[in-house]
């Protein structure tokens, strides 16, 4: 059993937990993820490692309550336990081969997986420009944390309730247009956002990496549920990723695969033992 040490409600839909998992905390690198199971009847779901503290032996996870598992998890309180917590899984992030500006784009709860990477770049002494966005001000997470590790930070909201009124892509476009060399763009967020960003950067030939979060079961390369077409090849997100060259990813296929269990998920929420549908 794994203890939830602290809980923070970031917004109506996002929550943050620190989980006691000393061995995972000792190893965790930016870019990696964990798999958890809330209880004995639970499913195995992957979540990005948002932060780790080897001294305290904790891993920070941030999640949006969308499906059954995240709803059940969100109802836990500090001091409660969850059944399983495995990791760190996946490959750690790589640093750009060329020095220069790095632009990090985070959308919605995707800011959580972007944060450890930006922190990693910052630690390595690189200058990072971060562009984060959410539907509205109340849904924006990790602004202070991102500001602390970014040279420049831009905030966007779809409804204009805070920062730039519009999409992260608007701000990104200015950097693409101004012609200063960009070593790498890292974009994490909902699939439509990542697809939009890679389509936007493709004509400029700027390397754009994305971090994927497809359906997974074991997370160690055994089941093949998380397969994704990258270039012409089938890759397993859990062992080959989760970070991939966004220009090579087949997003249409990925979007379809991510919707595979929508009907069942609805049914599961209706029958949810944690009262998640309420």
């Amino acid at each position: 059993m794994y203890k939830l040490v602290t809980k923070e409600v970031l917004s109506d839909v996002s929550k943050k937990f620190e989980v006691e998992a000393p061995l995972v905390a000792k190893k965790a690198q930016p870019g990696q993820f964990i798999i958890l199971r809330v209880d004995e009847q639970g499913e195995r779901v992957p979540l990005t490692i948002a932060d780790s503290d080897p001294e305290r032996g904790t891993i920070t996870i941030i999640f949006q309550e969308v499906g059954l598992t995240t709803k059940c998890l969100g109802q836990k309180e500090a001091g409660d336990y969850i059944a399983d917590f495995v990791g760190p899984l996946g490959k750690p992030m790589e640093f750009p081969e060329e020095p220069g500006r790095v632009i990090a784009v985070g959308g919605g709860v995707g800011i959580a997986p972007v944060y450890p990477k930006v922190k990693g770049f910052h630690k390595a002494g690189m200058d990072v420009t971060s562009i984060i966005g959410a539907r509205c001000k109340d849904l924006l997470i990790l602004e202070d944390e991102m500001r602390a590790v970014s040279k420049e930070l831009h905030v966007c909201t779809d409804d204009g309730s805070y920062g730039h009124h519009g999409f992260v892509s608007d701000i990104l476009q200015k950097y693409l247009d101004d012609g200063e060399p960009i070593a790498e763009i890292i974009a994490v967020g909902p699939l439509p956002m990542m697809r939009a960003i890679v389509n936007q950067t493709r004509p400029y030939g700027v390397k754009t990496v994305v971090s994927l979060n497809p359906v997974m079961v074991d997370g160690t390369g055994m089941c093949g549920a998380c397969r994704v077409t990258v270039g012409e090849e089938t890759k397993f997100t859990c062992v080959d990723g989760p970070v991939f060259d966004g220009h090579q990813v087949d997003f249409d296929e990925l979007v379809a695969r991510s919707r595979m269990y929508l009907d069942q998920e609805k049914k599961a929420l209706e029958n949810c033992r944690c009262g998640g549908a309420k």
Binding site: F85, V86, V217, M222, C223, G224, T229, M260
Partner: protein, 463 residues
């Protein structure tokens, strides 16, 4: 009623129309009198040829003679001296090609039902309550066993019996490996696996679940930071193989590993009581004809599919599955499309499978290797009307341990190189089971675990 001495005593089983609607075990096992009567068929041969057919060299005549004499405790003691997991072996070993194929009775009639007797005696003990094993004096040596599947469990059990301090590491939340994620409940109840794992733990073996060796802890760290004197790697088969045909990432295409893991380990057949979903359409194609394919096909029927096809590019003679499994699948209504090779999967506008394009094949003359190579028959393309495809054509070894362990030699396909004792290129590291041989059987993995345990013990004593 008199029994024909040339024949095995039959084992009662659930009738096919009924069992296809549930996940309960298919055969019921022998009752005491039938087991004793079957044991009486054993000729108690001095040379006991049956033993050479057993990868763990169970003293078969000894355990059978004790059943004949109704000395069941003696029987199980004789069994457990060599095999810590008899309730599992009695159910999933391919006895017909191992012990039973060497039985002298098989020359004129059917061999002794060694597998059925093994299952009987193991079940008898599980029902009676297992006595706590007598533990030996501790040797003070620590061994890490990576993977709690058949190879790891056997190796761990044997090392514990020799007095070593053993810790078993498992990546999943439940021990058992393929016994819990792969083999369905109707063939091997998970309660049985849990009881046998419990026995291994009562031998003193410590179990750490949720530990991905190679990620959470590396093999190097097991030695340097955790103070182990030896490590056994039994991580099994890993990455599923796909066919490399168009449409393989459509919705409704599963690897057998995923299909079976969702159902068996995650209990998707009890969704929504359990949270893990699975999608099974009306018409399911399972590609491949090994035991895993049969398990997938029979599982698909139980999950409600109307038509389930085994699609295999060779003929019935080459099917690698156990005869009994093929027979059970046939009885339950699985349809066999042999000499049929899938060449593409078609999808609808929403990305779901709507058919599988296949070609008819013929077998040519055997080549130098003695194998018949299947050849496509021109213009024989047709579309099989299916909405779910399960690919059961094998796995390649999991790369996590080899990738993160220094000084460990691997073969071309990513298997770990090991000698006949399981010894690898790195001192203090042994490996066995599918990670060494590629996908094989439960009993072969157990044989490898046993051999390694013996060798590790010698190494530890000499250290």
């Amino acid at each position: 009623m008199a029994h024909d001495i040339k024949k095995k005593h039959p084992m009662e089983e659930q009738n096919p129309q009924e069992r296809v609607k549930n996940f309960d075990e298919v055969p019921f096992g022998y009752d005491i009198d039938t087991a004793v009567a079957e044991a009486e068929r054993c000729l108690d041969c001095k040379k006991a040829p049956c033993r050479q057919g057993c990868p763990v060299e169970v003293n078969i005549p000894a355990f059978i003679m004790s059943i004949k004499d109704r000395k069941f405790e003696e029987s199980i003691a004789a069994m457990k001296a060599d095999n810590s997991l008899p309730a599992i072996c009695g159910r999933v070993c391919p006895q017909e090609s191992q012990c039973e194929s060497f039985c002298v009775r098989a020359k004129k009639g059917e061999p002794v039902g060694i597998g059925r007797l093994e299952r009987f005696i193991a079940d008898w003990q599980l029902k009676e309550g297992v006595e706590d094993p007598k533990l030996p004096e501790p040797t003070g040596k620590k061994v890490a066993v990576v993977g709690a599947g058949p190879a790891g469990l056997t190796c761990a059990g044997d090392l514990a019996k020799l007095g070593h301090d053993v810790t078993m590491y498992e990546a999943f939340h439940t021990p058992g490996g393929v016994l819990v994620y792969g083999i369905p409940e109707f063939r091997l109840p998970k309660e049985i696996v849990a009881k046998e794992v419990d026995y291994i733990q009562r031998l003193g073996v410590k179990l750490e679940t949720n530990m991905v060796i190679g990620k959470t802890i590396t093999v190097d760290e097991l030695f340097e930071e955790h103070g182990f004197d030896a490590v056994f790697i039994g991580t099994g088969a890993g990455l599923p193989t796909f066919l490399g045909i168009p449409g393989e990432n459509l919705l409704g295409v599963y690897s057998a590993n995923e299909f079976l893991t969702r159902t068996n380990l995650m209990k998707a057949y009890r969704f929504p009581e359990f949270d893990t979903p699975i999608h099974v359409g009306k018409n399911v194609a399972v590609v491949g004809a090994g035991n895993v394919a049969m398990d997938s096909a029979r599982t698909a029927l139980r999950l409600g599919a109307e038509n389930v096809y085994i699609v295999y590019r060779r003929s019935d003679k080459e099917m690698p599955a156990r005869l009994e499994e093929i027979h059970h699948a046939e009885e339950e209504g699985v349809q066999f499309r042999l000499l049929t090779n899938p060449i593409g999967i078609n999808g609808d506008d929403k990305g779901w499978v709507k058919g599988m394009e296949c070609m008819q094949m013929r077998l040519c003359e055997p080549d130098e290797s003695g194998r018949c190579r299947p050849e496509p028959i021109e213009d024989s393309n047709f579309v099989l009307d299916v909405d779910t495809v399960v690919v059961a054509v094998g796995q390649t070894p999991n790369p996590l341990v080899p990738q993160t362990t220094t000084g460990l030699k691997t073969g071309r396909k990513g298997t770990i190189d090991a000698d006949e004792f399981g010894k690898t290129s790195r001192e203090g590291v042994w490996a066995g089971g599918d990670i060494v041989t590629g996908a094989a059987t439960v009993i072969n993995a157990m044989g490898a675990g046993k051999m390694a345990a013996k060798n590790i013990d010698e190494y530890l004593k000499s250290k």
